[in-house]
């Protein structure tokens, strides 16, 4: 290359370079200005928006489920409360590898394979930001172990919450019901945007009984805990000043008495049935028990399938509330209603019918348990003579009986705050017409059955208890009350009701007859309270479980359980100054006097002994030195087979 060209070139190249340098500097400047502009946009114009986003990154409000309201008995004894529960939660959003996380967790706590598969499904289907509960009821050791490891396990938290506790297990199972995880159907009912509380894994919804009917009152309002979290959702700091306090659910006080309730469950043993005890002055239900029962705590923590299947498949139906949702023919207890209906209709109580075990009428033979001879109405109640009541019922007809029975609450559903009651049936001519289009006429042959509480008549133990309570009260059309107060606010008393539209003398007549049932009648040996001067008045019932007209078959507690009669006993005490009314049903228990009356007696004894006025009366004889010994308070007497001979 020649030098001359070289130097020219140098100058030209240098000139071009200088021009281009300015341009390059200009480009860089424009680029930096563009960056500045973008910074202004983000940091000055949109700063508020991003500051908000940053804060919502940084702070998290963790929903705190409120403590659920307690359920108390009438003396303030807790029958549903809360216990601390350590649980382990997993948040789908933050778990990188579900399998690896579950592997790590199963080294810390036991996760059965079956549960593991279920969990994987649950986690996969869980909504964003709603944690899934992997385990609950952890011990402190497990809780601590997991808490130590959570920094390495993104999306895993171990926290302390509350779980429902039913201290009495089964005694109140059907009344209180239980709480459990909310299910899809319940959630769908809440609409498209359910309250976040409902989705919280610690939240439980009432499924049965009082827990269900008063769920909203018991639920309370959730609080929130303000926490500073890092990108993995791990809590860095808590900010107690920013917390929103949870408002606990309201306490619910029931009219039930835990002692009476527990004794009722106890005396039923393996038997099936129901018992209801009411205060006849206030209408308060002191006992509302169904047997056999089950441990509701198993439901609150999530009952395993096989265990549930065993409960559901057991022929004595522990899951059914027999006091409210089971209906049974009332048998001879219904004779109190027939007698009252007859008296109200002008029937002469001195009318005498003769019983010699069988009675031929309407082309067939009607039976009785015994040959009672010639009796009037009072005698027929005391001996529970079927043949007398066949004829008594025929003389007034079904409509009058039904009208009276309804006045006493039979066939009625009482709003005591428990869902799922069944009203049963008190039949009359209109019912027959309505429900039997092919045979709409009430045949005379159907009346005798109704007269002894069989046929279409089907009732539940609560109704029978209300019936006795009204008879014993003698004035008011008393209503049962189960929920005494909610959040300290008293519910209206069951005595704030109109008078019963029945002649008081007629009620007194029936009460006298019922007293004699226990003194000298069908329940003479089994209905004695053994509380000195305090006596019970009652009426036995032995109801054929199947069609009465098909002949007698096995009577009493013999043969196949399912074929046995239902045993009833309805009573009030003290007989001379009534305070409490009781109805006891022993499903397929055999004779009312043998299976039901002693149980009613034992339950009644607890109620009477807990009543200070009645107790004072019982204890009075102690003042006289002569009467030491055979007087109350006597220890509870065991329930055993009573000597046969007592009949309904």
């Amino acid at each position: 290359m020649e030098p001359s060209i070289f130097f020219d070139e140098v100058n030209e190249r240098q000139g071009a370079f200088h021009r281009r340098t300015f341009l390059l500097g200009g480009f860089a400047g424009v680029g930096l200005l563009a960056m500045t502009g973008r910074l202004m946009e983000l940091q000055l114009l949109q700063a508020n928006r991003y500051q908000l986003l940053s804060a919502s990154n940084q702070f998290n409000f963790r929903l705190r489920p409120p403590p659920r309201g307690r359920v108390l008995d009438r003396n303030g004894v807790e029958i549903a409360s809360n216990r601390p529960d350590f649980r382990l939660l997993v948040l789908r959003d933050e778990v990188k590898d579900v399998d690896a996380t579950l592997d790590a967790l199963s080294q810390l706590i036991a996760i059965p394979d079956q549960r593991r598969e279920q969990l994987k499904k649950e986690i996969a289907n869980s909504p964003r930001s709603v944690p899934v509960q992997v385990a609950n009821g952890l011990t402190w050791d497990e809780f601590a172990r997991i808490n130590v490891r959570t920094p390495e396990l993104p999306g895993v938290t171990a926290e302390m919450g509350e779980a429902r506790l039913y201290p009495y297990g089964g005694a109140f199972a059907h009344v209180i019901g239980y709480v459990s995880k909310i299910n899809k159907a319940e959630l769908d009912k809440e609409g498209p945007n359910p309250e976040p509380l409902l989705l919280h894994p610690g939240f439980r919804i009432g499924k049965q009984g009082v827990e269900k009917s008063l769920d909203l009152e018991l639920r309370g309002r959730p609080g929130a805990q303000k926490v500073e979290v890092d990108a993995r959702g791990r809590v860095i700091r808590e900010d107690p000043a920013g917390d929103i306090k949870a408002i606990p659910g309201k306490d619910v006080q029931l009219t039930l008495d835990a002692d009476i309730q527990n004794r009722a469950l106890e005396v039923f043993g393996e038997e099936s049935g129901g018992a209801v005890l009411m205060d006849i002055k206030t209408g308060d239900v002191l006992c509302l028990m169904s047997a056999p029962s089950f441990d509701v705590n198993r439901f609150a923590t999530g009952i395993p399938g096989p265990e549930y299947a065993a409960l559901a498949g057991y022929e004595r139906k522990p899951l059914l509330d027999k006091a409210l949702s089971g209906t049974y023919p009332p048998g001879s207890t219904f004779k109190t209603m027939v007698a009252l209906a007859a008296l109200e209709a002008g029937y002469d109580p001195n009318t005498v019918h003769v019983c010699n075990r069988s009675w031929f009428w309407g082309g067939r033979t009607w039976h009785c348990d015994d040959s009672h001879g010639a009796q009037n109405l009072h005698g027929a109640i005391v001996t529970s003579c079927d043949i007398y009541f066949y004829q008594c019922a025929l003389s007034i007809g079904p409509d009058k009986i039904a009208e009276t029975a309804r006045k006493f609450g039979l066939g009625e559903i009482f709003d005591i705050g428990i869902p799922g009651q069944r009203k049963g049936l008190v039949p009359d001519r209109a019912y027959k017409k309505r429900n039997f289009p092919r045979d709409p006429v009430w045949h005379p042959g159907e009346t005798p059955s109704m007269g002894i509480g069989q046929g279409y008549t089907n009732l539940n133990p609560l109704q029978l208890c209300v019936q006795v309570a009204r008879i014993a009260n003698g004035q008011k059309a008393l209503l049962p009350r189960l929920i005494r107060s909610v959040g300290g606010v008293e519910r209206p008393s069951g005595a704030a009701v109109p008078d019963l539209d029945v002649n008081k003398e007629h009620l007194a007549f029936v009460r006298k007859a019922m007293a004699d049932v226990v003194l000298s009648g069908t329940a003479a040996s089994t209905g004695d309270l053994r509380l000195g001067p305090v006596k019970m008045a009652g009426k036995t019932g032995t109801a054929q479980a199947f069609n009465y007209t098909n002949g007698r078959g096995a009577h009493g507690a013999v043969g196949d359980w399912k074929g046995r009669d239902h045993a009833w006993f309805i009573a009030f005490a003290p007989y001379d100054d009534p305070r409490y009314a009781i109805s006891v049903l022993v499903e397929h228990g055999g004779f009312g006097a043998q299976a039901a009356a002693p149980r009613a007696r034992e339950i009644m004894r607890v109620a009477l002994l807990k009543d200070p006025e009645v107790r004072a009366r019982i204890e009075q004889p102690l003042d006289s030195p002569d009467s030491y010994g055979g007087v109350a308070p006597a220890p509870p007497t065991p329930i055993g087979p009573e000597p046969p001979g007592a009949v309904t």
Binding site: I5, F6, Q51, Q58
Partner: protein, 384 residues
């Protein structure tokens, strides 16, 4: 006494004079930026020198000394080593292709016992040197438009293809743009520039369909619509914007950036350190930082323009170009204006590789300044 006043032969070769000739304003700016980086790393590590801040400062110290030593290397030595460096770098790239160390789904590294090197970084300097060396030997007319330009185009594209195949899209883009910058500075015809720009834009869809990996395409689509999946792929960009935006005018205060302190911001100590800085120091702080970078660029361009040799001019300008691209691409990425391509903020971000590359580059720039009066004959040792 200024350096230009020295006229005696050999005077400029004296070490003390050379040291005075080093541009200490530029050195000071680099120190300030690296110092800010260490300060941010200390804050991100929850007020701790470990694990980043101390190593960042140590690396910078070593690199700064290396830069000073390189500044004293005669520009003619640089000139003579230009092609050898390029060739060695290229051979190493091929070696990566054959026996490279695979990490994080990319093959970028070569292991020599305990030392791991990343040949693509050598090529960032190598391409600048080779191009400057090449343009030094051709006329302005040829540099404008001639068949000879196929050679620099080849010099650029050969390593780019290998780097893109590793795959390292960020570095490939950086090398292409730096090379284009040097060609531009050398006086490339505007017509070629416009056609090249149009061609590059037109090539994007084809690249998306045939060349890019799935994850790279995903990064691009995420960039276009980051809010589509805010906790998935759009997470980086969204969290970075939240960090920036929430800084506001004055920032949340040193050590108080919740986005980075609480780990919402990924890569907070490397690629996204600018967002951390912005969160804690706000708009005012960012403006200051960008001015520091602008200062470095202006001074380096000034050094380029006063050099007496074309090789000096172009190599200094090329390094400046690389540096400016680092800053702009990283800033644009952090602000959600460019896809996430893994280009760090030079000297601010934690990371040894980029530190070495940038400081070696500035060693070259300093050498250009120290030897700005050196004349380099195009004939001696020239291939073209």
């Amino acid at each position: 006494m200024t350096a230009s006043a020295l006229t005696r032969p050999g005077e400029r070769e004296r070490l003390s004079v050379k040291l005075l000739e080093i541009d200490w304003r530029l050195g000071l700016l680099l120190c300030i930026i690296a110092g800010l980086g260490a300060m941010m790393l200390y804050s991100i590590a929850n007020s701790s020198w470990e694990p980043w801040a101390d190593r960042h400062l140590m690396r910078f110290g070593v690199c700064f000394v290396v830069m000073l030593i390189l500044a004293l290397v005669d520009l003619r030595v640089w000139f003579l080593s230009a092609y050898p460096v390029y060739v060695i770098g290229f051979l190493l790239l091929i070696a990566v292709e054959l026996v490279g160390h695979n990490a994080l789904g990319a093959t970028r590294w070569l292991k020599f016992g305990p030392v791991t090197i990343q040949p693509s970084e050598i090529m960032k300097i190598g391409v600048v040197l080779a191009l400057a060396r090449f343009y030094h030997g051709i006329s302005a007319k040829d540099a404008r438009l001639s068949w000879k330009l196929l050679i620099p185009a080849g010099l650029i594209m050969a390593p780019v293809v290998l780097v893109a195949h590793q795959p390292d899209l960020g570095t490939a883009v950086l090398i292409v743009l730096t090379g284009a910058g040097v060609m531009f500075m050398a006086g490339l015809s505007w017509r070629v520039l416009v056609i090249g720009a149009i061609g590059a834009v037109a090539a994007v869809p084809a690249a998306v369909l045939f060349v890019l990996h799935d994850y790279q395409v995903k990064r691009l689509t995420t960039f276009l619509d980051p809010e589509k999946d805010p906790s998935g792929d759009g997470y980086h960009i969204l969290q970075s914007k939240i960090a920036l935006g929430s800084g506001g005018l004055l920032g949340k205060g040193y050590g108080l950036g919740s986005q980075s302190q609480l780990n919402f911001l990924p890569e907070k100590h490397t690629d996204f350190i600018f967002a951390t800085f912005a969160e804690e120091f706000g708009f005012v702080g960012c403006l200051g930082l960008l001015l520091l970078y602008a200062g470095v660029i202006v001074i380096a361009l000034r050094i380029a323009s006063i050099s007496h040799s074309h090789f000096g001019r172009l190599s200094a300008a090329g390094v400046t170009c690389t540096f400016a691209l680092y800053v702009l691409i990283n800033a644009a990425m952090v602000m959600g204006l460019a896809p996430v391509v893994g280009v760090p903020m030079p000297l601010l971000s934690y990371g040894g590789t980029v530190m070495v590359t940038v400081m070696v580059g500035f060693g070259l720039v300093m050498a250009v300044r120290v030897h700005r009066y050196s004349e380099i004959s195009s004939g001696r040792g020239a291939l073209f």
